[in-house]
Amino acid sequence: MRILRVIKLPGMVTGFLTGLLVGGLAAVAGAPTGYIIVAALGLGIPLAIFGLVYDVLLDAGRIPFGRIAPTALYGILAFPIARLVQELLLTGIFGQGITLQHESGVLSFLVFQGIMGFGYGIGFLMIHSQIIEVSAWLAYRKQAKEEGNQPRTAEKRV
């Protein structure tokens, strides 16, 4: 459990960096500075908040760690909302979003972003769980060793 307490950050950081990536994209594409900042923070902050919530739920034992399904669900729910916040902010301030205006409606926007959010969730899990997975497997190996299933012990039994 000590390890779980340390990993409150990854969820938040992964989310925030994703937002920055979008900002970076806008920056190199030559968008105005204000647009870049709103695009980056508009996605980064909601995703960071969702990342933090994920870690808190994980710590509280509400989400089993390393499981694909809950994390994918987290991506499917969190990502479209974060993207919608971003698009609404951009449209509200600059009169133009990134893709919202090209979609046939908010619903189809949310569905498409949800599908991409599934990918976001899986990628998030892979980075996030690396830290925990290793320790979980080590614990399993240790247990196997105590039970005498280790190679050396096995060979000696021959």
Binding site: V28, A29, R67, G117, G119, G123, S129, A136, A144, Q150
Partner: protein, 501 residues
């Protein structure tokens, strides 16, 4: 040597009265041990993730999007079949490895040693070329303008350093590959979220099920001889290509899956003094014992999760994302298709980047190059580790004098040979026969190896394993179909068009 097979494991041999063994094929019999308990929950990610991380590569991000641009998303059904067959193959590879703790190469030797040496030779022919890292570095050159030789050589040396300084090599390989694939999946999801729309996803998903669709121009017409082999090559690159599935058995062993628990793991150069004694063959569990069979079912559950959720799921997901990207590219600039048809392969990389750039601005075109660079490096990283494992495994067990050297040292000998040979090749190979040319040779032999290992699995899993844990008839039919699928396509391509690739 006694070559008899069959009978329940647990028969007493004459040589060692107290020890029960399972006689499988021509090599030493396997002692009977208890199968360890499978991890109770599925959440401990298995090497399936590693296989997905290695498998999601140029096929998914480059070859298949190119086919989608050329023929539309309907061509994807072939990808669907390819990846599903790979899922079945993966389950069967895992069956042998978790039941015995041996690699599939050892299984091949139990049938007949020359079969194993054939794979040894194919591995060398296919994998000593630094094709992947060169292609990745070439993409990086397009991005930065700095000569790709520098990136390729730095990338190769970095691989050597990382692996040499690991404690347990497998853990490091798993961590690095998983993290990199995580970054790729997140990055491509975001880009697709910014340029795609729902219609593309629908077209992609329906495209996966348009079974039987085959573009007429790839069968007859002036361009068929160029297009058909392109499709064959792409099928070979759907999911893990070439010998990656065979290496999966070595990763399972190092992960300690099933009877692999009894086999020591490969350690880094700096931890060689902790090397444990390597047993001379694998082990078998008592399939007549209900407790062991219960545990076996637990391992099969774990492996199924590995194969379908981690491997199949992640590969399909990446595919959908990249098909969406490819469709966006065509929608924005229909001229991209003609450009790809006219271009040679090296230029197609630029063409793809150009297509993505038109779809989502110069940055996304640039990011495509970044992704290809990352993929090129991580493929090389994964392949170098796996190749060295496989070759070390075969030489250690079957060239007896080399047993004194030890598995660990053999592994590092192969690894550093690959790195140094790769660097030497990069100096010898000019820009003229660029990296893409190497990649083509690779996909011919890859396809051959894939057909061959399906046949091998039919042999190992039906002849070497106790009856109770052999594959059922449906699996056997699917394996035979897979062999026909890969070898048949190669043969058709050769006899119909006179070219294999």
């Amino acid at each position: 040597m006694d070559t008899s097979r069959g009978g329940a494991p647990g028969e007493t041999t004459e040589q060692v009265k107290e020890e029960r063994v399972w006689r499988a094929g021509r090599e030493d019999p396997m002692p009977i041990r208890d199968l360890p308990e499978a991890p109770t929950s599925l959440h401990i990610l298995g090497p399936g993730l590693l296989l997905a991380a290695l498998g999601v590569g140029l096929g998914e991000t480059y070859l298949w999007p190119r086919l989608v641009i050329l023929f539309g998303p309907e061509i994807r059904w072939l990808f669907f079949i390819g990846v599903t067959l790979q899922g079945i193959v993966m389950l069967e590879m895992a069956r042998y490895a978790t039941a015995t703790g041996e690699s599939i190469f050892f299984g091949a030797a139990r049938l007949w040693r020359p079969i194993m040496w054939l794979f040894f030779a194919i591995a060398i022919l296919v994998y000593i070329w630094p094709g992947h890292v060169a292609l990745g570095a070439q993409a990086f050159e397009s991005l930065t303008g700095i000569s790709w030789y520098i990136f390729a050589i730095a990338g190769l040396i970095l691989i050597g350093i990382i692996i040499s300084f690991s404690t347990i090599v497998y853990n490091v390989v798993e961590a690095i590959l998983s993290t990199l694939i995580g970054i790729l999946v997140i990055g491509s999801s975001i880009i697709a979220a910014l340029v795609g729309n729902l219609g593309f996803v629908w077209a992609t998903i329906t495209g996966l099920f348009t079974f039987g669709y085959f573009p007429q121009e790839a069968i007859s017409g002036p361009q068929a001889a160029a297009l058909f082999p392109l499709i064959v090559g792409a099928i070979a690159f759907a999911g893990p290509s070439g010998m990656q599935q065979m290496w999966y058995t070595l990763w399972l062993r190092d992960k300690g899956a099933g009877m692999g628990t009894y086999i020591p793991r490969i350690k880094g150069l700096t931890h060689m003094d902790e090397e444990e004694t390597m047993p001379s063959r694998g082990f078998m569990f008592d399939t007549e014992d209900p407790e062991n069979m219960r545990r076996w079912k637990g391992w099969r559950r774990w492996v199924h999760f590995d194969a379908w959720v981690l491997f199949w799921g992640i590969t399909m997901l990446t595919t959908i994302i990249y098909t969406v990207l490819a469709q966006s590219a065509v929608q924005i600039d229909p001229g991209v298709r003609e450009a790809i048809l006219a271009d040679d392969q090296g230029a197609t990389l630029d063409g793809m980047s150009g297509a993505f750039a038109q779809a989502g601005g110069a940055v996304i075109g640039g990011l495509f190059f970044v992704f290809i660079s990352v993929i090129g490096w991580k493929m090389t990283f994964g392949i170098f580790d796996a190749f060295s494992r496989g070759q070390a495994d075969m030489t250690y067990y079957f060239i007896r004098p080399l047993q004194r050297v030890g598995m660990n040292r053999l592994y590092f000998a192969f690894l550093w040979f690959l790195i140094l040979f790769g660097i030497a090749m990069l100096f010898v190979t000019g820009e003229e026969d660029g990296p893409a040319a190497i990649l083509d040779i690779l996909s011919v032999l890859s396809t051959f190896a894939m057909g061959a290992y399906c046949l091998l699995l039919l042999g190992t899993n039906n002849l070497l394993l106790p009856k109770k844990i052999r594959p059922n008839i449906v699996i056997n039919i699917l394996l035979a179909f897979a062999a026909l699928f890969y070898l048949g396509m190669l043969a058709y391509s050769y006899f119909r068009f006179g070219v294999i690739i």
